[in-house]
């Protein structure tokens, strides 16, 4: 595929890859960055990784390897092996969330493009510049940055930035899986536990648990704000669906594939069908993360607050008036 933008997503294992329709996507990140015990994680099953890379290539997609977000010393040999396989198979890039892994890639695999993941804590332009010196070709800024800050980073560093467009925003990573404490009570064992679509709820608050990983309960949704993202020059977008099923991946990908094409054509219209498809997968609601400089669980926009989804008592006036006024909605 050769489009003016890249829509990508993450897939943890071969089973998920084979069940996923890659149609809407231009690129795929292979591997689960949260847990070594995740079922048949590409990062641990290197023959699967090899086959997965070939499958994506055969489908005409770019393919990237992601790596563990919080690797200890004893992870490093396996990470090196996985990178070596990825290099042999000619992946388009390797994503590193850990600066030690960045150093390994830079020193030991000089031909491989490096993408810096969201867990790498790139908060500042100077931080991004340091990583550019270590060979970074693309950076996902830390999730806490506002769009204003991200736009400034793009302008000041000249680096390609990847934007989390939709899906579950990572909120944290642990070395401990609390779900294991419930194996006996629930009659279910690892690695099935973390695939049960589990939400931590406390009143109106919600977070999704994937064991060692904590994700936003609400789905980040930037559908309304695509014109701003496109106008700012961003072209690499992620649907964060590592914890979601293939139907989610397909449906959300299709919406954004269409939306990006519309947006780049210069006449952006939100089609009513898009909201319905997004709504069907947003179990807890939608949010904008930190893009507008406020609590990550809030949604800022003109359309959803007028009739779709839910708004929080903490919601403030829409910040995107300039953008919203450019939108024409067909409901």
């Amino acid at each position: 595929m050769n489009r003016a933008f890249e829509l990508n997503t993450g897939i943890s294992n071969m089973k998920d890859l084979m069940a996923s329709d890659l149609g809407p996507y231009d690129a795929v990140y292979l591997g689960n960055p949260f847990c070594r015990d995740y079922e048949a994680n590409f990062l641990e099953r290197l023959e699967d990784l090899r086959a997965g890379i070939r499958h994506c290539r055969g489908a005409g997609r770019k393919v990237y390897l992601t790596t563990y977000a919080a690797p200890r010393n004893y992870f490093l040999p396996q990470i090196r092996r996985a990178i070596a396989v990825a290099a042999e198979e000619g992946v388009d890039a390797v994503e590193a969330h850990n600066l030690g892994v960045v150093r390994i890639l830079h020193a030991e695999f000089p031909g491989l493009a490096i993408h810096i993941g969201g867990f790498a804590n790139v908060y500042t332009d100077t931080g991004a510049a340091v990583l550019r010196d270590y060979g970074a070709a693309r950076v996902t800024p830390n999730y806490e940055l506002s769009l204003e800050e991200i736009e400034g980073m793009a302008e000041n560093t000249g680096l390609e930035l990847e934007i989390l467009l939709h899906g579950k925003m990572p909120l944290g990573i642990s070395d401990y899986c609390f779900l294991l404490e419930y194996e006996k009570a629930w009659g279910m064992k690892c690695p099935d536990l973390c695939q049960q679509d589990l939400y931590l709820r406390q009143g109106e608050w919600a977070m999704k648990s994937v064991g060692k990983g904590v994700l936003s309960g609400r789905d980040i949704c930037m559908l309304e704000h695509l014109p701003r993202l496109v106008a700012a020059g961003f072209r690499s977008f992620r649907v964060e669906a590592i914890s979601e099923d293939p139907v989610y991946r397909r449906d959300i990908g299709q919406v954004y594939q269409e939306a990006l094409e519309h947006s780049l054509s210069g006449a952006y219209q939100i089609l009513g069908d898009w909201w319905k498809r997004i709504q069907g997968h947003a179990k807890v609601g939608l949010c904008n993360g930190f893009y507008f400089g406020q609590s990550g669980q809030l949604y800022i926009g003109s359309q959803l607050s007028a009739g779709f989804g839910e708004t929080s008592a903490n919601s403030v006036e829409p910040l995107s008036r300039a953008v919203s006024s450019q939108l024409k909605v067909i409901s």
């Binding site: 390994i104 804590n121 908060y123 806490e144 642990s174 609390f178 679509d197 939400y199 179990k283 400089g293």
Partner: protein, 322 residues
């Protein structure tokens, strides 16, 4: 001799930690550290802290252990110039960009990589060493075995002997601002991010809320699930850490009462000195009892602090600035 590093959230705490035997202390310049501003020091107070500490041969580090905005970096470097001129001996940083910029601007200033930098493996340490870091704070989840390998690398290692052990890796957690973030600016124009510990605001400890666990939207699997976030003291490990040649033993707690921090410092001063004087005849028994009393006071203070944070986390955000 291993260095005992103490928190100093006020001038009173500076005096207490110096009097009780700290070798070094760290202070948070107002607006720039990973704590409430109530536990940070103005420039004037920081100068006073340096004066008090240096008079007793105690070093002072400025904790600038947050991720500022990119636009703030020039302002930070100007502030840093003041703190360096006022005599700080080192600086504790989290952000790689800030580290690189500070190292370029103040090449002789010792940079300590904060626990917020989340340094987990030897390659990580080498990375930070290459950008100018001289000492790293070990993550609280690392084992003694993992810490041992650090000896092979030319870098100082700092181990927390009193701190919180979060469910998540510290520095890689956005649970608190996801639920409540309040942006603002202080009187000097410094950006503030209340609710975001990585960006210098307080942490609402939402991980400790009594969460219910549901499959999908309705299938309730468990109640009162807490994502563990325990405060700890190291005791049995301290002799091993000293034997390993760890450079610094660090106590967190700028937010605790001055007398409690004073007791902690005195406890560890005595422990380090006693063990170092006669490692072969060292008996942990009495130390356990003494630490138990300190721990009881700490637990009370922490429980109250957590409840206050829960309440504050539910408050509506009054204003919002982009």
């Amino acid at each position: 001799m291993v260095e005992l590093l103490a928190p100093a959230g006020s001038i009173e705490m500076v005096e207490a930690t110096v009097a009780n035997g700290a070798n070094a202390l760290y202070v948070g310049p107002k607006g720039w550290s990973r704590r409430r501003d109530a536990y940070e020091l103005s420039d004037e107070a920081l100068r006073e802290a340096v004066r008090i500490a240096h008079a007793r041969g105690v070093k002072v580090r400025a904790a600038v252990n947050t991720h500022p905005t990119s636009q703030e970096l020039p302002r930070l470097l100007r502030r840093m110039e003041v703190w360096v001129r006022d005599g700080i001996d080192g600086v504790i940083l989290s952000d790689v960009g800030v580290m690189a910029a500070v190292h370029r601007t103040f090449p002789d200033l010792t940079i300590h990589a904060s626990i917020g930098a989340n340094i987990l493996n030897d390659e990580d340490i080498c990375f930070y060493r290459e950008i100018g870091v001289r000492q790293v704070v070990a993550d609280t989840k690392l084992s003694l075995k993992e810490l041992r390998s650090r000896r092979e690398i030319e870098v100082g290692v700092e181990v927390l002997i009193h701190a919180n052990k979060c469910y998540t890796y510290l520095g890689k957690c956005w649970m608190s601002p996801y639920h409540r973030l309040e942006r603002g600016q202080d009187e000097s124009g410094k950006d503030l991010f209340k609710g975001s510990p990585n960006r210098g605001g307080l942490d609402y400890r939402v991980c400790l809320e009594a969460w219910s666990l549901l499959r999908g939207n309705h299938d309730r699997w468990a109640d009162r699930v807490a994502l563990k976030n325990d405060a700890f003291f190291l005791l049995e490990d301290v002799p091993h850490l000293i034997d390993m040649g760890v450079h610094t033993l660090k106590i967190q707690g700028r937010e605790y009462a001055v007398d409690l921090i004073g007791r902690m410092i005195k406890f560890y001063r005595d422990l380090i000195d006693t063990y170092s004087a006669d490692p072969h005849d060292f008996d942990l028994g009495p130390w356990n009892t003494r630490l138990g009393q300190i721990q009881a006071q700490r637990d009370l203070e922490r429980a109250k602090g957590t409840l206050d944070l829960f309440q504050e986390a539910r408050e509506a955000v009054q204003g919002c600035q982009r």
